[in-house]
Symmetry: C3
Subunit: 135 residues, 3 copies
């Protein structure tokens, strides 16, 4: 089963969409198998991170913005906005695809893990994630 | 087939568990297919790296500790210990899931590749990795 | 279906091989499923990036070379050449495996996405990528 999930973002940050993925797994009827995700964009990425304490996500984003700042004389790719090249670099440093085993009809995530879309652009409506669920 | 592999860590570092994964592949009886791995934690990660020369792993860890040091005034997420926030960041920069093709009943790894659990905390007993093997 | 794709590199840089992967998908006859890729090396990696504007790839490579320079007194793993240890680190920061859903008999990539082999060594003939395609 393959489908496209649309994740609302709007601004830079981490947006959890674990429940949308869980719904797709339930719909597939698969009890034991694999759920593969691909974000169909080059300036946003996928990440499995702690979804309990928001301070962890806050620090993660702040740290990444310091490592890959908006103003950097190195960039020549600037036509699509000052936040576009940093977004491509952050995309390269994080994940574009994820593969999550399915056990008992649900994602085999750890207790504190959630699935997030990491939006790297300052302004963006939403992002598409292709989801495959198999046995 | 889905199962949970437990990897002993104990301290910060890279811990190879290629043989444990190979054993799961053999047990499945699958000759040609895919082996998917997910580490069920947010302060340890998965990595496929050179398993021949220990100096490569040593430098890799040292480099990462310099990039993501323990003492950084940026961190606000400090309640779970000074090494917890750096662990989340290292987790984001490396892999949480891996997908390794299976050929002739074994992992289709290159000659020098091994599968490692990268423990990012200073003290930790063990880590769980969910393994899915399919055709 | 599992096969090995050989990607010509030769020098440091990003080498797109989306068409070679698409050909493998067509050959498999699978219309809806998953395509998994593993690069069988520890000094080159896989990346899905923008394949439209070459300046994005140029900046990405330049940025990475600044973050992980060739001359660094931290390195002790120097026997295999001055560009070997930086290559291992870049490998750890990017992807070794990718999982791309297949829709309508083709890779479910976004409009601007291409599949690249990122060669991190200065001199190298070619790289092997193990490809698995399943339902």
């Amino acid at each position: 089963m393959v489908e496209i999930i649309n994740v609302q973002t709007g601004r830079q940050g981490l947006f959890e969409f674990t429940r949308q993925v869980e719904r797709a797994v339930h719909k597939s009827g698969i009890r034991e198998g694999i759920c593969n995700l691909l974000i169909q964009h080059t300036s946003a990425s996928l990440i499995i991170q702690e979804n309990a304490d928001p301070s962890a996500m806050h620090d993660l984003e702040k740290w990444m913005n310091r490592l890959v700042p908006v103003n950097d004389s190195l960039y020549t790719h600037t036509l699509e906005g000052e936040d576009d090249m940093p977004a491509h670099i952050k995309n390269a440093l994080t994940a574009t695809t994820l593969s999550i085993p399915v056990i008992d009809g649900g994602l085999a995530l750890g207790t504190w893990q959630g699935v997030f879309c990491w939006e790297h652009r300052h302004c963006s409506g939403s992002r598409n994630v292709a989801v495959h669920i198999g046995e």
